[in-house]
């Protein structure tokens, strides 16, 4: 019940944040995202580790090559387990702080789902596509949102870093 309250209040704190549930439902129904194997728990130990692995992979993919601009710090909430993760920009790139209690004040906030992140890190979906489909919702200043999308729009398109993405052909459609 408390998870429901935490999830429910998101819809007010981050207006229409729960629309990501509808977007995921649509994407799964249309086979854009894989079906899930339900678990009676938010996630079992195994799927928790799998989720953490995905988050770390996402941080790696978002890291810039040496010499590029510093990556942006932001906070990501995975809606199913209500798991907050901070992506912290430092000298050695983006690092994750998984299972933090809340986003840091001033952070750009991303609301998404576990399968969305897994699809991104497995190159089945770019962040830009996910954003367009409502599978990732962004909350911050206009500048933060624009900057984030400008940098990470094509993450998930391939295994290359963002700096390489401009040389990649556009993907025709989601797989």
């Amino acid at each position: 019940m408390m998870t429901y309250l935490s999830r429910g209040v998101l819809n007010w704190v981050y207006p229409d944040a729960l629309h990501v549930i509808g977007a995921i439902a649509r994407a799964v129904g249309e086979k854009r995202l894989p079906a899930l194997n339900p678990s009676p728990n938010a996630f079992g130990a195994r799927s928790y580790h799998s989720t953490v692995r995905s988050l770390n992979q996402l941080a790696q993919q978002m890291n810039m090559p040496p010499g590029e601009r510093m990556p942006l710090s932001f906070s990501l909430l995975l809606i199913e387990p209500m798991l907050w993760t901070r992506f912290v920009s430092g000298g050695d790139g983006l690092k994750t702080q998984v299972h933090v209690s809340r986003p840091q004040a001033g952070d750009l906030v991303l609301i998404s789902g576990e399968e969305v992140i897994k699809a991104v890190v497995s190159s089945r979906l770019t962040i830009g596509e996910a954003h367009q489909l409502g599978l990732i919702r962004l909350y911050g200043t206009d500048e933060q949102v624009e900057s984030f999308l400008a940098r990470y729009n094509r993450v998930g398109g391939a295994q290359q870093s963002p700096s390489d993405l401009s040389r990649l052909p556009q993907r025709a459609k989601l797989r």
Partner: protein, 653 residues
């Protein structure tokens, strides 16, 4: 055993008219009969003397169709619904019920298969409108230090913590007094006036009825004693008061005080209100007391007052079915249906078997007979309706279009596996898949207006459905004959020779037993019917209560076995594709049944239960849609059903 089956689908259409339209020359003053709920021979005779005209539908004055609606729907104005993420307002709820497509609070387009005929937005009266105002940062909210703190928490990204603080403070009665949306405050008045304004805006007589209402939410100890209050009146009267609440100093958790408030409303405005008791299955044995309530012994005044104000009972809704329970009705093969019997509303106290008798409809109807003998009045002489209790603003209770009980339970690949209530201390655990896609209220009214629908509720000419829109007739009298079931327009016969559901039969004529003309027609886009049953409860001279289920009409050529048990209708559900076929069952059932066990000295009640053939449950549609695998034990099929209001038999004194 009398039974009649008319399977021809062509005839079904004709029969539809029979259920809703009178026979040629039918001109009985059925409205009088229906409204009184008591057959009046003089009036019936007078009716027959009216000049007959060619059109069978001319001069008809009894209810000819049931109107379907929801008497129990929450929007973002309810504190818990808001906390669960509902963003839809009362206006959105009415628009949706009228048949418009809306976007749900999870961003999903949604529309009903068919518009509903009426809706009661019944938001919780305590703190009505609080949540939208808090998040909007209304000045009244920010003037209070705690309100300011919560708002700042929200703005700084700690909204979830703020929400939990709010809910905990509220549930532990530690809510800041100055922040309570009490009756009499400007903020509360604003929320109530907007509730009224929404209903006024969308109320369209003869097309769609938007009732004004609220839910009084007594929940002491986690035991659900909620009541939905419905106004017959328009905004001019309803706006003269503000809803009765639970929290002190203005409110009370005792239903007796709610009834006093209702009395005061009628006295002040000249208007009319009724209350519908919430499904009692989460009251932990407190919804239908037989000895005392709130420390006061039940007496005649209690019985009379409750019977006066609580005309209807919510027999089925998203939090489970409340008709009966296998423990109470071990011989009823259909009793194990959509059960929620683990504990009370918040899971703080586990269920004990001895509680069940005082929270299910059939047991209450039985105990009512006994209390009537002891107190002189039956406090539990209620009719039956179903409604949703959805907290989404969406009265979407179709299995293939189920939008859940709360916003996080709207369609998603996850909802079948999620946990709704889990209290490790008490062991009370309810999974989301156990949420029931139920139900609707069917009301036999003359017109689709507030007055006409409310009057029908008042006289209990209603039935509950679990979400299907089957059409069900149920008439009782002493003179129905088998040939009455051959009439293609049974309503006229029913109203002329008997009383409709919700009515009374008194003092059986010498040598006669109650007879019942029953008819049911499938939902036009739904499943065929398995059987029509009559459930009888009675009190013998020794003060012992009894119940019995009679199969009175069924599909096919099935024969009851030596024990009287009717074989199963079968099952055509294709789970993989979430579909079924109407190759079994019947589109319509009609018969006349005579009570074979009647004793004229024993008070009794009779109500109809109509069962559909098995169909896919919402979980099956989800599994198909999302390709997800259900958890072990997940119920994947359902036998939708309808429960009529009873007809009571009272012996001669």
């Amino acid at each position: 055993m009398p039974r009649c089956l008319l399977q021809t689908s062509v005839l079904a259409g004709i029969f539809a008219a029979g259920l809703v339209l009178p026979a040629p020359g039918q001109n009985a003053p059925a409205q009088d009969v229906g409204i009184s709920g008591t057959l009046d021979k003089d009036k019936a005779d007078t009716a027959h003397k009216r000049p007959q005209v060619y059109s069978p539908y001319a001069n008809r004055d009894f209810p000819t169709r049931p109107f379907f609606g929801d008497t129990h729907l929450h929007t973002s104005f309810s504190m818990d619904a808001g906390a669960f993420g509902a963003r839809l307002t009362p206006r959105d709820a009415y628009r949706f019920a009228r048949g418009e497509q809306v976007t749900s609070s999870t961003g999903q387009p949604v529309k009903l298969s068919r518009p509903l005929d009426f809706l009661v937005v019944a938001d919780h009266s305590d703190n009505m409108g609080f949540f939208p105002d808090l998040f909007a940062g209304k000045p009244e909210m920010l003037a209070d230090p705690t309100g300011r703190k919560w708002y700042d928490m929200i703005q700084s990204g700690n909204g979830a913590e703020a929400a939990i603080e709010i809910i905990v403070a509220f549930s532990h009665n530690k809510f800041p007094k100055d922040l309570m949306y009490f009756p009499g405050t400007r903020a509360y008045r604003g929320a109530w006036q907007e509730t009224i304004a929404a209903a006024e805006h969308y109320n369209e007589p003869s097309r769609f009825t938007a009732f004004i209402g609220f839910e009084w939410t007594s929940n002491t100890g986690g035991n659900n004693l909620h009541r939905n209050v419905i106004f017959r009146d328009n905004g001019d009267k309803a706006s003269q008061v503000e809803p009765f609440t639970v929290y002190p100093p203005f409110g009370s958790d005792n239903p007796v005080d709610l009834w006093k408030w209702m009395e005061a409303y009628e006295k002040k405005t000249g208007g009319s209100v009724l209350a519908i008791a919430h499904n009692g299955n989460l009251s932990n044995g407190t919804m239908f007391p037989v000895v005392e309530e709130f420390g006061k012994k039940l007496d005649r005044e209690y019985a009379e007052t409750r019977a006066k104000w609580e005309r209807l009972y919510e027999a089925t809704q998203t939090k489970g079915d409340g008709e009966t329970h296998p423990f109470l009705s071990p011989n009823d093969e259909f009793a194990n249906f959509e059960r929620w019997d683990k504990g009370n509303l918040d899971g703080s106290v586990a269920k004990k078997q001895e509680m069940l008798e005082f929270e299910y409809a059939r047991a209450a109807l039985k105990n009512g007979l006994k209390l009537a003998r002891e107190l002189g009045t039956n406090p539990y002489k209620f009719g039956l309706i179903g409604s949703s209790d959805a907290h989404t603003g969406l009265a979407a209770m179709e299995e293939d279009n189920f939008f859940g009980k709360t916003t996080p339970q709207e369609p998603s690949p996850h909802r079948m596996a999620a946990t709704f209530i889990d209290n490790p201390k008490t062991g009370v655990k309810v999974m989301d898949w156990q949420v029931s896609s139920s139900g609707y209220a069917a009301v036999w009214a003359n017109d689709n207006t507030r007055a006409s629908l409310w009057d029908a509720m008042q006289r209990k000419e209603t039935y509950a459905t679990t979400g299907t829109r089957m059409i069900v007739r149920f008439f009782g009298g002493f003179d129905f004959e088998p040939k009455d079931a051959e009439n293609r327009l049974p309503a006229q016969v029913g109203y002329t020779k008997g009383v409709p559901m919700g009515g009374d039969l008194h003092a059986a004529p010498q040598g006669k037993s109650p007879t019942f003309l029953v008819a049911a027609l499938k939902d036009p886009i739904g499943a065929n019917l398995d059987r029509y049953q009559i459930i009888k409860g009675w009190l013998d001279k020794n003060g012992t209560l009894h119940e019995k289920v009679y199969d009175v009409a069924w599909s096919g050529n099935r024969k009851p076995d030596a024990n009287g048990k009717l074989p199963s209708v079968g099952d055509t559900v294709d789970l993989a594709n979430a579909t079924w076929t109407n190759t079994i069952g019947a589109p319509e059932l009609i018969t006349v049944w005579k009570d074979p066990d009647f004793d004229p000295t024993q008070p009794a009640f009779y109500y109809g239960r109509v069962i559909e053939i098995p169909t896919p449950r919402w979980t099956a549609y989800d599994a198909k849609r999302f390709g997800s695998k259900p958890l072990p034990g997940t119920q994947m099929t359902i036998t939708e059903r309808g429960y009529t209001s009873p007809i009571w038999y009272t012996p001669a004194k």
